[in-house]
């Protein structure tokens, strides 16, 4: 068996299995937490607070050394990173509220200032005798080299807690993301709910730093959510699908990088997530690029065919060259007017046209203009409504349009 298959089956060694499990759990947690971040349009905020974790890592390391400890305790470093990230989050919220700076300026400044300070601290630590082997720079882009069992446990517990938090708070999170003013009017405290959401995101960021790194963690929060959006129109489903896609990216990414050890795990996981995004962007059945294109083409042909045939049936000339070509290529009209096939279709279209006109009269409370002429009326009305409609058309109250064709 080659390494790739072994890694896929968690058989490529203890460390690889640990990394793979960790990546899957992290992907599930980041995908589902990131969905609300995406729906609440807070992606850039999370990027800024991810960068704001860096000085916390440095300060925590220095304090732990100063207290006579090892300095590399993951929990200690993560705790430090959470502190500075919270300060960054507070500033992003405070600056637009209390100064004239808009939010994007606040996000940009917090990101720059904190990340800059973090890099300076890392450089200082490099010069310390105990800092050389600390490997703190691995927090920037993630590293799996020295992943320990306890690191995987931290990811598992943190991931589980954030998923639990999302599940419990899914209704407030949804309503605040969809309609903030309405949520306030119902008595929801949106500052608390936003804080909870950012807290969940911060939790994922902190546990993901070791594996994916703080620079790319925003990708793991946002890309699965954006991808999932192509596959569902329900918030709950988008959350679940995003979690699945995040986990899948983590799994494939970890396995790939295990079979080619020179490839960095974090960036590979992100690239896999991007591949899944690109596939969805093009191939998703309802909102993908291809299906949108095909649907557009179909609608365009439907309208041109329908209106073109009606025009000919009325005895008028078709002006649009697109329509003329379409009708000719489908064998509906020839040089001497409608073909038999065309005539049959006109009969059908006239029934549809009369039904639409009648529908406007007997269902005045329905918005009949939305689909008129774009799709057959059978797709808009229910069977009972259609029966009622046909009875009305047959009655003497309705005057059907007829053409001589």
């Amino acid at each position: 068996m080659n390494t790739f298959v072994q890694a896929m089956l968690f058989q490529a060694g203890y460390n690889v299995a640990l990394v793979t499990v960790g990546a899957i759990l992290l992907g599930i947690a980041s995908g589902s937490a990131g969905t609300f971040l995406f729906l609440r349009k807070r992606a850039l905020v999370s990027d800024a607070i991810a960068h704001a974790t860096l000085p916390g890592v440095g300060v925590a390391f220095i304090i732990m050394i100063w207290l006579g400890g090892d300095g590399r305790s993951l929990l200690g470093l993560l705790f430090g990173s959470a502190i500075t990230a919270l300060i960054g989050l507070f500033l992003i919220e405070w600056i637009p509220r209390r100064t004239r700076l808009p939010e994007d300026a606040a996000i940009g400044s917090v990101l720059g200032v904190f990340f800059g300070a973090g890099i300076v601290l890392l450089t200082v630590i490099q010069t310390m005798s105990s800092g050389r082997q600390a490997g703190l720079e691995s927090f920037l882009l993630g590293s799996t080299a020295g992943m320990l069992f306890q690191d995987a446990v931290v990811i598992a517990i943190g991931g589980f807690l954030s998923i639990l938090g999302i599940w419990i708070a899914r209704r407030p999170l949804t309503i605040v993301a969809f309609d903030k003013d309405y949520a306030i009017s119902m008595g929801y405290d949106i500052r608390k709910i936003d804080l909870l959401m950012m807290g969940l995101v911060l939790g994922v960021t902190v546990i993901g730093m070791k594996l994916v790194g703080l620079i790319l963690i925003v990708a793991m929060l946002i890309i699965p959510a954006v991808t999932a959006r192509f596959w569902s129109n329900h918030t709950d489903e988008v959350v679940v699908i995003a979690g699945f896609l995040g986990g899948l990216s983590g799994y494939i990414g970890a396995v790939l990088s295990a079979s080619a050890p020179s490839l960095p795990t974090g960036p590979i996981i992100v690239l896999i997530a991007i591949v899944l995004f690109a596939l969805s962007l093009f191939l998703a059945p309802n909102s993908g690029v291809f299906s949108t294109f095909i649907k557009h083409r179909k609608t365009k042909s439907y309208i041109h065919r329908r209106q073109g045939l009606l025009t000919i049936a009325k005895g008028k000339d078709v002006v649009s060259s697109f329509t003329r070509k379409l009708l000719a290529s489908e064998g509906l009209s020839g040089s001497d007017g409608l073909t038999d096939k065309g005539r049959k279709l006109v009969t059908k279209i006239l029934i549809d046209e009369n039904r639409w006109i009648a529908a406007k009269e007997i269902y005045p409370d329905k918005d009949m203009n939305i689909d008129y002429g774009i799709k057959p009326i059978e797709e808009t009305l229910t069977k009972e409504e259609l029966i009622k409609l046909d009875q009305y058309i047959k009655s003497h109250k309705f005057k059907s349009i007829t053409y001589d064709y």
């Binding site: 309609d179 309405y182 009017s185 008595g187």
Partner: protein, 266 residues
């Protein structure tokens, strides 16, 4: 104790929503200044005024979306803070992202979120309440539709259905008829009138002066400050319209509007 006993006793008033000295500003620009209002119970009240008069701001300050500089707000003579569940708010259609991944029935069920709590099930009785509310606005057969595919009028009806699901006492609507088709306008006004007949109080920001008389029985006119307030027949006059809208309203138009008074009261 002595302090409170000396005060005049609060008599049970007939007000659904009472606003005293409400001031709101955006930065250093005053949006509304010291506005008082006293909307009666079981009636249809309109808030009217020119663009930028602070009509929507007034509603937003009442429900706490917009922070206020000063002012007291009472619902049935109690401070609003602990009584928000008696209010159902229908925001302007344009205020939300209609591409949000949710469908019609999900949106209506949002009106039940407070009632069912964080983890309560949205099945059985709750689900049928939501369907019933959709039916009342004539949208029951579109319950599965993605909200982005709805027309403007249908979107507005979904918002109204969501407010109905809250089963509130007071309905606050922000321009409910703006940009909707005639059928929707009729459907909405029918629902509002049936609410009124069940002793609910309706307060709507309204922009179409031509229909004020037909739809409402009480009116608050503001233009940053109070202009006039009272029953339609006494308050919706040429003079008040002129002072609310100033030069923005053609004199002839104002006369025409207040002249309909005679026609209606006849």
């Amino acid at each position: 104790m002595s302090n409170t006993t000396n005060r005049p006793k609060i008599t049970p008033s007939k007000s659904a929503l009472k606003i005293d000295g409400l001031t709101v500003s955006y930065g250093d620009k005053t949006a509304i200044f010291s506005v008082d209002a006293n909307f009666p119970i079981a009636s249809m009240s309109a808030i009217i005024g020119p663009n930028g008069a602070g009509k929507s701001t007034l509603l937003k300050a009442v429900i706490g979306v917009q922070p206020k500089l000063s002012g007291q707000i009472h619902i049935f003579d109690n401070p609003i803070e602990n009584n928000l569940k008696k209010i159902a708010y229908v925001p302007q259609r344009v205020s939300v992202d209609w591409d949000f991944p949710t469908n019609v029935i999900d949106v209506v069920q949002m009106g039940l979120y407070r009632q069912v709590g964080l983890l309560g099930r949205m099945k059985g009785k709750q689900a049928s309440i939501a369907m019933e509310c959709l039916d009342r606005v004539g949208m029951a057969d579109l319950w599965q539709k993605q909200i982005g595919q709805l027309s403007g009028g249908q979107q507005q009806r979904v918002f109204l259905a969501r407010a109905l699901a809250q089963d509130a006492e007071i309905y606050l609507l922000d321009e409910p008829f703006s940009g909707v088709d005639a059928a929707t306008e009729r459907a909405i006004i029918d629902v509002l009138k049936s609410l009124k007949s069940k002793n609910k109080s309706i307060i709507a920001v309204h922009h179409d002066l031509a229909t004020v008389r037909d739809y409402f029985d009480y009116v608050l006119m503001i233009n940053i400050k109070n202009i006039a307030e009272g029953l339609i027949n006494e308050t919706f006059t040429n003079e008040n319209l002129q002072s609310a809208y100033g030069g923005k309203l053609e004199l002839t138009h104002a006369e025409e509007l207040s002249a309909t008074k005679d026609r209606v009261t006849e």
